[in-house]
């Protein structure tokens, strides 16, 4: 059973299009994240949701809009795609978040490689 899954695995699209990436976790976790890995392999947080509420929103263009319909899903919608959006996007989840005074192990999905042409 896949713990954190993402669809699609690969996404090739043209500049200006709108696209979505879906993420689902079956671990019963409360917290989910989106991370971006750039062409130099650097990984950085984009968003975090806890119990469907946004708790982290890093300096990300507002063309990126996360949506959490329930605790098990966190989708990422990107409007007006640009060349610089090409990257690998990873979804992750953890049991909780550090606002409760603990830190929890994070589990990552397989990644979605987005190529904007």
């Amino acid at each position: 059973d896949t713990a954190v899954s993402q669809t699609p695995k690969y996404l090739v699209t043209q500049m200006g299009n709108d696209k979505s990436i879906k993420c689902e976790q079956n671990l019963g976790h409360d917290t989910m994240y989106w991370y971006k890995q750039d062409s130099k392999k650097f990984l950085k947080i984009m968003f975090s949701y806890n119990n469907k509420e946004l708790i982290i929103n890093e300096t990300v263009p507002n063309r990126f809009s996360p949506k959490s319909p329930d605790k098990a899903h966190l989708n990422l919608h990107i409007n007006s795609l640009e060349l610089g959006d090409s990257a690998v996007y990873f979804c992750a989840s953890s049991q909780g978040w550090s606002g409760s005074g603990r830190a929890y192990e994070q589990y990552f999905g397989p990644g979605t490689r987005l190529t904007v042409t």
Binding site: T31, I55, I56, S94, A103, Q106, F108, P110, G111
Partner: protein, 110 residues
């Protein structure tokens, strides 16, 4: 934010050799994880180790939180160990997101 530095940036080993990867961080943390990103791009959890020592087969890790560093040991390396190894931390104060180091790229040659 917190600075996470990994060394060495690149490492080439003969199959069967041992190696030590290091991760230094600039602030107090309450989570530290080691990941292996394989050549297919998957991020595989190796260790969740905010402090202490853990072992899993040929891999082991030690985190000395008071001195702000962690070490990952790979013994009897195999070609399947090739890939990029990332250290990532969660700051003791603040939100729960991981701050990643820049990674160590390991190549194991037969």
């Amino acid at each position: 934010g917190i600075q996470v530095e990994q060394s060495p940036p690149d490492l080439i080993l003969q199959e069967g050799a041992n190696s030590t990867l290091r991760c230094n961080f600039s602030d107090s943390v309450n989570n530290l994880q080691w990941f292996h990103q394989n050549p297919w791009g998957q991020l595989i959890n190796l260790f969740y180790i905010p402090s202490g020592t853990k072992q899993n087969g040929r891999l082991s890790a030690t985190t000395v939180a008071t001195e702000r560093y962690s070490l990952l040991y790979i013994s009897s390396s195999q070609t399947t160990d090739s890939g990029v190894y990332f250290c990532a931390v969660v700051r003791q104060t603040g939100a729960n997101n991981l701050f990643f180091g820049t990674g160590t790229r390991l190549t194991v040659i037969p």
